[in-house]
């Protein structure tokens, strides 16, 4: 199975993403998206619980149970990340990064610490880490969702209280509009 078939999402991403009106785009991009067990405990609102539960029932989401080797590697990553003078990672996102490395899953996160760790730690080289910006861009690129890219991305910001870094946004918009 190709790496693109599976992804693993952390809590920060899923909670934001669940507020977006086009949230089912996620399931057009991946065969299934794994969610660590700890994520389920962090979900409380009826709307999000219903979405998670129905997605688990359909197989669009799958429960990811942490194994001892994943947990051990994740703890190593947490410690390694704290050696740098920038924001480190905590165990929940480290579990996703460890699964990304050991199972070849795409890691989906809105956690800046996870992005930095994947960029800086040698143990994570080659792990693909996507934010909502990359997911939406891929959806627009493959025409899985349609509309003016800026409007789609602004809609996401409004629905979720998210803010895309302006430079990243400009790069994406230029590419989607064929200006590169």
């Amino acid at each position: 199975m190709s790496a693109e078939a599976f992804a693993i999402a952390d809590t920060c991403f899923l909670i934001d993403w669940a507020s977006w009106r086009q949230r089912d785009l996620l399931f057009k991009l991946f065969k299934t998206v794994f969610v660590p067990e700890s994520v389920i405990k962090e979900i409380r609102s009826e709307r999000t619980v219903e979405w998670i539960a129905s997605s688990l029932a359909s197989g669009s989401l799958s429960l990811f149970t942490e194994t001892p080797d994943i947990l051990s590697f994740a703890r190593d990553l947490v410690e390694r990340s704290k050696l740098f003078p920038i924001r480190g990672i905590d165990l929940p996102e480290a579990i996703c990064l460890a699964a990304g490395r050991m199972r070849n899953y795409t890691v989906i996160t809105e956690n800046r610490g996870a992005l930095m760790a994947a960029d800086i730690l040698e143990e994570l080289s080659g792990v693909r880490v996507w934010r909502s910006l990359e997911l939406i861009t891929e959806g627009l690129r493959r025409e899985l969702i349609r509309g003016d890219p800026l409007k789609v991305l602004e809609e996401y910001e409004r629905d979720t209280g998210h803010r895309f870094p302006r430079r990243d946004l400009e790069v994406v918009l230029r590419e989607l509009r064929g200006e590169d």
Partner: protein, 74 residues
């Protein structure tokens, strides 16, 4: 790959956006634990740890973050 200095710059930029856009009247009106958690979030952008400080689930804290108009910059 970005350098650590570049990541530090991006972190500072995100912190400034959170500080600028936060509803400080709302934040200051919260009980001490929630106020401290919201201020921690403004400074770090770390939703998980902030939710632990607030003694809330991540989703509950994320709702509080939205009410405090603190953007999640990522």
């Amino acid at each position: 790959m970005s350098s650590i200095e570049e990541w530090e710059g991006l972190e500072e930029e995100a912190r400034e956006i959170r500080r600028k856009e936060a509803d400080w009247d709302f934040i200051e009106s919260q009980p001490p634990r929630l106020r401290a958690a919201l201020k921690f979030y403004v400074e770090t952008g770390d939703l998980y740890v902030a939710s632990r400080i607030a003694d809330m689930s991540i989703e509950e804290f994320n709702d509080l973050r939205k009410r405090a108009r603190i953007p999640n910059v990522c």
